[in-house]
């Protein structure tokens, strides 16, 4: 379930009620009285939870899911694991947004503390912390020993910081768990809602973003970098990652241990890097990719496919680096011929 530090769950709801809320229909034989107590991702959902499938990429997770119920398109209904109840609809992502909104009606509404108590009375702040002027610390925040928090930084309700962290000025943290010895430079934004919405008759329906942003020990986050929290799964930055300025990290992205991410790189949602990946400046990653351990990506590349461990790639679309160099040479030769010939 969504972390109760940050999200308050309603329900349970009867499955028939969720069908009504979402405009989906129950599969034949499903028990409309089934009590559903939460939403959850396909791979972690259990019997009392409801999940959804909207991306064929995750059909395998659907086949193996232990979710009590799942929202799917009609053509997938026949493939469901036995005993899984189904909510069937042509718009599973929209239906999920409505169901998740029923369980978490306040997910998009950040808690605002008492304006006259910048540091909330319920916050727990460890020994030897240095808190600069103008810092706002919300309800139930926990901060470890020896942390330094720069001026005018805002730490939202429920956030947790470990020991020996250095947070710059004008930073915003929310819906996050931060490890020990983490450095966050000025203006970074961590834990805000990611970019999730479903088309809804010419408008867009927001999909509640129910995960967290988890920053592991010794990571460093650059100035004005943005790290959205997960949509249900978490967004995770591995131990010792070095992330430069103005980087965008979408919801559900995972970076392994010791990744190096240069400035202005962007990760679309749910892309996962293994350990020690090195990424040059201004690289863009499509969503839902897998990048193997120790891969290296040249600056400004556009990555549209999975990358095997140890590979070095470059270009747009990105290809193995030697192939990219050959492409550049071939293109130069071709253009030169054009100039001479005509």
């Amino acid at each position: 379930m969504a972390d109760p530090r940050f999200f308050s769950v309603q329900g349970p709801f009867a499955l028939a009620e969720l069908a009504r809320i979402s405009g989906a229909r129950l599969n034949s034989g499903a028990d409309g009285d089934l009590a559903v107590r939460d939403v959850a991702p396909l791979d972690t959902a259990g019997p009392g939870e409801i999940s959804f499938l909207d991306n064929k990429r995750y059909a395998g997770a659907f086949l193996e899911s232990r979710a009590g119920a799942c929202i799917v398109e009609p053509e997938l209904a026949a493939k469901a694991p036995s005993g899984m109840a189904l909510l069937i609809t042509d718009q599973p992502y929209k239906a999920y947004a409505l169901v998740a909104g029923a369980f978490y009606p306040m997910a998009g509404i950040d808690e605002i503390g008492d304006p006259d108590s910048p540091i909330d009375a319920s916050a727990r702040i460890g020994p030897n912390a240095q808190i600069a002027s103008g810092v706002v610390i919300g309800p139930r925040v926990e901060i470890g020993r020896n942390c330094r928090i720069g001026a005018n930084t805002v730490i939202g309700a429920g956030a947790v910081l470990g020991d020996d962290c250095t947070i710059g000025p004008n930073v915003s943290l929310s819906h996050c768990l931060i490890g020990n010895r983490v450095v966050i430079e000025s203006g970074a934004r961590i834990g805000q809602a990611g970019f999730g919405f479903a088309p809804d008759e010419g408008a867009y329906l927001k999909v509640p973003q129910l995960g967290r942003a988890i920053i592991h020990d010794d990571a460093e986050i650059g100035a004005n970098t943005t790290i959205d929290r997960g949509s249900g799964p978490d967004t995770e930055i591995g131990p010792g990652c070095m992330i430069d300025n103005l980087v965008q990290i979408g919801h559900n992205v995972h970076l392994g241990r010791g990744c190096i991410i240069a400035a202005q790189v962007g990760f679309a949602g749910s892309t996962k890097l293994d350990d020690y990946v090195v990424v040059g400046g201004q690289v863009g990653f499509a969503g839902h990719l897998r990048v193997g351990r120790g891969a290296r990506i040249a600056a400004k590349s556009g990555v549209m496919r999975d990358i095997p461990a140890g590979a070095t790639i470059g270009g747009f679309p990105a290809v193995p680096i030697r192939q990219w160099h050959r492409q550049s040479v071939a293109l130069t030769t071709l253009a030169e011929g054009k100039r001479k010939g005509g």
Copy 2:
């Protein structure tokens, strides 16, 4: 005229005085005593107003303009509509900067409220607003019902917010009109002066930025995104637009209804998107383009030409998506042949 919520106009000025201020010369027959009361864009200027033409792209608007006076290059003087007075100069943009600076000498100087009153006494805040700690609200700001303003956010003089808006922490708003149910994530910057200056003997002369940033109902603006106000016209974000993190929107850009803009996209000035355009991450748009309804632009593309409605394009320079795919295949084949052939 520039919105008096944000800008205070001087004048009127006699046309001859504006010629003197700008270093331009009056066309023969013009009435130097003509009282000019304001600057205005070519397409909206009336008889008592002065405009300028600096980009051939807008020659059509010049021919049809009802402006009382216009600043132009010598070669365009003969094409002016009859009855339009002219200020003739080799540097119309610089001359306009000087004239606009005469009418709006304070345009670059944001009003700073009383430091001891973070929420200005003249601000009007609707019922049921929740204002977090450290929020600064300037003179004459208007905020509707049920708005939530995150900690340490700054709302500059004269800004207007509708009902049910959610503004994150550490946001800066100025020179803007915000609709209802708008969501603005942490660290977004809306309404600051755009990138406008004229060369002036080895230096640059700032051009007063006299427009607003208008964010229509139900739009969502991502973390650390920047939306400059217009230069004279407005910058506008259409109803229900979804804009992700770290996006740059230059002055006078218009987005239609329901556009989806992924992270780190950049729009140079005056580009206009029709409704329901979908833009992938890290795309860049040159200035002064037109993009038709429902067009789709692949991530990381560089858009240098107008795009027709319904088109799907990609690449750098961006071309129709199938053409881009053929280019990628052709380049791969070419490089492969190079490798094999030696």
Copy 3:
């Protein structure tokens, strides 16, 4: 030596002690008792200072350096200027990090003023300044005449601003010297630590960032732009530079006079632009490049080589602009042939 406004030096250290700290070995004949009083870049270091060489690009500076000692790889030891003591190691950058950390143990720890005195008693603020609500001004800050500081902006310990500066809201300044008439838009981050670390057995060792960010007269810095301070040398923005929003400027970058940098451009470390260079939006520069006076770089280019004065270049990798246009035409023709030929 590092500017004592911002950094406090320890030492001196005996050369043998620095060898021990860094895990390097002294060259034969070196005087282990030599008193070393500071670290310094190769080109400015003097007899009592220690420098390092980690990038072959700077071998020339090594040959001419007057540094009393230098950290180098074994294969370069034989080339050292006569009389220069050497610390020899396979990992000179890591060894430098350890040595610099001995001299400047607090370099990564920004001074936090008294939380109850947002404007530190030791700050000197010139006449006619306007300081908005929520501004935090650290110890020993100096601000000239007629400056305007927007709400919730943070100015860190020791920073210097000249006269007539306009600083927007929610800005962070530290470790910087700002000239006269400088304009800094909302959310800009200037002077934070740059992206410097050495591999260290599966983790990364931070390299103290000991330089400053120097912004010369009349420069303008856009919203949410990030300018890191130098690593030892300074980062410098020349007089009258116009820098748009969301630009990334890495450590030790120098921009000459009057450069124009459009939005979302990124500069990796130590790249240097001469005067009046014009850079389109979303361009990326590799590190350690030289760009000649008046060069022009088309939007979205990826610059991987030095650029001569006056050149106009474009593309990725960037080439002379006509060559880029020929490449685009050739590629279109090639892909078209592919389509027709089957």
